[in-house]
């Protein structure tokens, strides 16, 4: 039923393709993305050259997307960058949804927690997401787990609000009332009766969070506050390429196109999921 929707088809298949690229990166004519060769600096796209491996052997290599100012192969770095983006996007979305669901269920079902929890969430929402992420990364040293957490934190309130609103309407349903009357324990009502009914909207919301997380990771890297610059992420490649943007714009454009395409694919997938799974929401926006 999902696959009948054109947005799901287009977004989903683009994403599958990118997933394949991420997994198969080492076998797609790439070299080690951190390998640099002073002899092949600043090559234009398509230039043939050679690159020295760590073992000291010189290999013939065509720089499909050119090389950066350290002599690293941009094509390899962009392909390996797919891994970082997808991992960060999916992991941040899962993390935000997980904690958002916990908080939302608690706020919606345990009434005395509601006020306290929602004021905390309002507080987080008052700070723009990018600033929270920057602040969290600034507190710790940036590595993959801290970047994922930093991106997930500002998204938790949005999930919490969604889940809370759903719980508040579901808990009035007759089947929940029946479960309460039968003396079902609270925990079982929350996870067995209410949670399954929130899955569809959560899937839609999670997809949008994934797109936003990929974007935010690239922004952090680009600003120089994300993952260390030797790790091939699209943001890092662009940050490195911007110094020589006037002479060699391709170092900015190739990762930029990949980034825009990925975010677009995830957003289109989200729109498709929303239209098929959550017709009420589709009418609203």
């Amino acid at each position: 039923m999902l696959w009948r929707n054109w947005s799901v088809r287009i977004g989903g298949s683009t994403l599958l393709l990118l997933l394949l690229v991420a997994v198969l990166a080492p076998w797609m004519g790439t070299v080690d993305p951190t390998l640099f060769d002073a002899a092949s600096r600043d090559l234009v796209p398509g230039a043939a050259g050679e690159i020295m491996t760590l073992e000291g052997e010189v290999k013939k290599h065509t720089f499909v997307m050119g090389s950066d100012s350290f002599g690293r192969d941009v094509y390899s770095r962009v392909l390996y960058g797919t891994r970082v983006s997808l991992v960060v996007g999916i992991a941040s979305a899962l993390l935000a949804v997980f904690f958002g669901v916990l908080c939302g269920l608690a706020a919606g079902y345990i009434r005395w927690l509601d006020g306290l929890l929602m004021r905390v969430m309002d507080g987080i929402m008052a700070i723009p997401a990018i600033l929270i992420a920057i602040a969290v990364v600034a507190l710790w040293r940036a590595n993959l787990p801290t970047v994922i957490v930093a991106i997930a934190i500002p998204e938790i309130p949005r999930v919490t609000r969604l889940v809370r609103a759903l719980v508040l309407s579901i808990r009035e349903e007759p089947y929940v009332e029946a479960a309460v009357a039968l003396g079902t324990p609270t925990r079982k009502i929350m996870f067995g009766h209410i949670l399954p009914n929130t899955v569809a909207p959560l899937l839609v919301q999670g997809t949008y969070i994934c797109a936003f997380s990929i974007l935010l990771e690239a922004i952090l890297s680009f600003l120089g506050v994300g993952l260390p610059p030797d790790i091939p992420t699209w943001g890092n490649i662009m940050a490195e390429g911007r110094v020589q943007f006037v002479a060699y714009p391709h170092n900015v454009f190739f990762p930029g196109i990949f980034l825009a395409l990925t975010v677009l694919a995830v957003n289109i997938l989200g729109d498709g999921l929303r239209d098929t799974l959550d017709p009420k929401m589709a009418k609203r926006v």
């Binding site: 008052a126 700070i127 723009p128 997401a129 990018i130 600033l131 920057i134 602040a135 990364v137 600034a138 797109a211 974007l215 690239a218 922004i219 680009f222 600003l223 120089g224 506050v225 662009m238 911007r242 943007f245 006037v246 714009p249 900015v252 454009f253 930029g256 196109i257 980034l259 825009a260 975010v263 677009l264 957003n267 289109i268 729109d271 609203r284 926006v285």
Partner: protein, 276 residues
């Protein structure tokens, strides 16, 4: 800060001087107490008051944000109304496609595309930099217009989408049919009857969009080398200048909450049915 050749005692005395030797909770408590009395502390890096620092960097950011909002509102609302007017038509579909693109193309990718096309190839605008308003209005605008266009795209996407949805809803109401039956010109029906009744959600989304705008300011200022608050935030993080980071984040959040409060209050004017 102490240099590479600092001894352990020197480092220790600097840490004590900055108050970094105390537990984090105590440091935060002291900071909070000072903020309550209007003191944001002193920057570790620039060695001046954070409040002074924010004051120095305020003009470029304020100018960029104002111009962006102006462009966004004047472009997006007519687009949204037009799309709702011809719902399902080619313009509507084009606008929806554009808005998904606007959400997906990152601000810095768009910035470099525009720099490459408009500044490098066509040479219409300077590549980077900022002129103060005191240096004359035209150079000021000339340097600011490309960053503002860049930043306004995602904002236009957001506002146009909501304008379309809420005007569409208003167009289904009975009073629209009445207005048309009275023989009012279509433009007057759209603006005076449909748009006026759709104003509250549009105002709300402009307020929520301030969060996106602040995030965009941080990135745009870095790309276009504008010495504003966004650039200051990034520099402060890179220098691990915590009082400045805290001060700027507090300031941005304050602005965000303040703007949203003002918009909430403006509902009274936008919709006379609402009273506080």
């Amino acid at each position: 800060m102490a240099g590479d050749a600092a001894t352990a005692e020197q480092i220790e005395s600097i840490r004590a001087g900055l108050g970094l030797d105390r537990p984090l909770v105590v440091q935060f408590g002291i900071w909070l107490g000072k903020v309550a009395s209007g003191d944001l502390g002193e920057s570790f890096y620039y060695r001046i008051k954070v409040a002074t620092l924010i004051g120095q960097r305020l003009e470029p950011t304020l100018a960029l944000a104002t111009l962006t909002i102006l462009i966004a509102v004047f472009v997006s609302i007519p687009l949204g109304v037009a799309a709702a007017w011809r719902f399902g038509g080619w313009f509507d579909r084009f606008l929806m496609g554009f808005s998904v693109m606007g959400f997906s193309v990152p601000v810095f990718v768009l910035a470099y595309m525009l720099i490459w096309l408009v500044s490098l190839k066509l040479g219409w605008f300077p590549v980077q930099g900022y002129r103060r308003l005191a240096d004359g209005f035209l150079p000021f605008l000339h340097h600011l217009i490309l960053p503002a266009i860049t930043l306004s795209v995602i904002y236009i996407a957001l506002i146009a989408r909501v304008t379309r949805a809420s005007v569409l809803e208003a167009l289904g109401e009975d009073y629209i049919r009445t207005a048309r039956a009275k023989g009012l010109p279509e433009l007057r029906v759209l603006v005076r009857h449909a748009l006026a009744n759709a104003a509250v959600p549009i105002a709300t989304v402009i307020g929520i969009g301030i969060a996106i705008l602040i995030g965009g300011v941080v990135v745009t200022e870095s790309v276009y080398a504008i010495p504003g608050l966004g650039r200051l935030t990034v520099d402060a993080v890179l220098a691990r200048d915590f009082p400045t980071i805290q001060g700027v984040i507090l300031f941005f959040s304050f602005i965000y909450v303040l703007v949203n409060l003002l918009i909430d209050l403006s509902y009274v004017f936008l919709d006379p049915r609402i009273r506080y």
